[in-house]
């Protein structure tokens, strides 16, 4: 019996100032199949109004930096991070 997913589940992580603005470090999210990273982020901006515009944010997919146009898959770990500032 064929089965058509109506939503896929991703695990969202926020870091640093984005974590503070989202009010959350980790979040489970359902999005429609075919959603891109930019769609995931805009969905989250709808829930957390304090999140900044995408221009000042980078996305990572499964622990690698990724383009905003990348399509997410069920079970992916998605992270949204500000410009990095480690080192000294």
């Amino acid at each position: 019996m064929a089965f058509m997913a109506v939503a896929i589940a991703v695990r969202v992580r926020f870091f640093a100032r984005l974590r503070e603005l989202a009010g959350n470090e980790t979040e489970a999210l359902q999005v429609p199949p075919g959603s891109r990273l930019e769609d995931v982020y805009e969905t989250l901006r709808g829930k957390h109004a304090a999140l900044p515009l995408r221009e000042s944010v980078r996305a990572a997919l499964n622990q690698e930096f990724a383009d905003w146009s990348t399509v997410v898959q069920d079970g992916d770990e998605v992270a949204f991070v500000p410009p990095v500032s480690g080192g000294l």
């Binding site: 870091f15 100032r17 622990q63 992270a79 500032s85 480690g86 080192g87 000294l88």
Partner: protein, 143 residues
């Protein structure tokens, strides 16, 4: 090779012990320490936050890039997270090479890349408030 994100103090000599070998003649070790000032303001302490599951693979990727550019290089890196006091070491990059100029170049390239691509963030507790550092920008912290 060794790539660590750790909440405890970093021992630069341990990293040097990882990179040294009988064919190496030169070890360049860079340590970043917490300065007591930034933007003309006095700093009391820092907090570093890491996406550790991603930071360690990103460090390994930098080490692999170094070995592509300087094939004889050996590399070790560590970054500390959590609360750091003035003068404490936040980051160490150690590179060995047969000759000194390549050791300097590879080490410098390593810390430059780390500052661009390893997901770690600095929160600065200063006389004028608490700020997240985002690349070149400074933004007030909320929490």
């Amino acid at each position: 090779m060794r790539y660590d994100v750790t909440t405890g103090p970093i021992d630069a000599r341990e990293l040097e012990a990882v990179v040294t070998h009988p064919g190496a003649g030169a070890i360049c070790t860079f340590s970043g320490t917490v300065r007591d000032n930034a933007r003309g303001q006095s700093v009391t302490h820092l907090d570093y936050e890491a996406y550790a599951e991603m930071a360690v693979p990103q460090m390994r990727k930098i080490g692999d890039e170094i070995k592509q550019r300087w094939p004889a290089a050996r590399v070790a890196m560590a970054h500390r997270t959590g609360k750091l006091e003035i003068g404490e070491v936040s980051v160490v990059v150690s590179v060995s090479c047969p000759h000194r100029h390549e050791a300097f170049e590879a080490c410098r390239w390593g810390i430059d890349r780390l500052k661009e691509s390893v997901p770690i963030w600095k929160k600065e507790h200063a006389a004028d408030g608490t700020f997240w550092i985002e690349g070149e920008e400074t933004k007030p912290a909320i929490g």
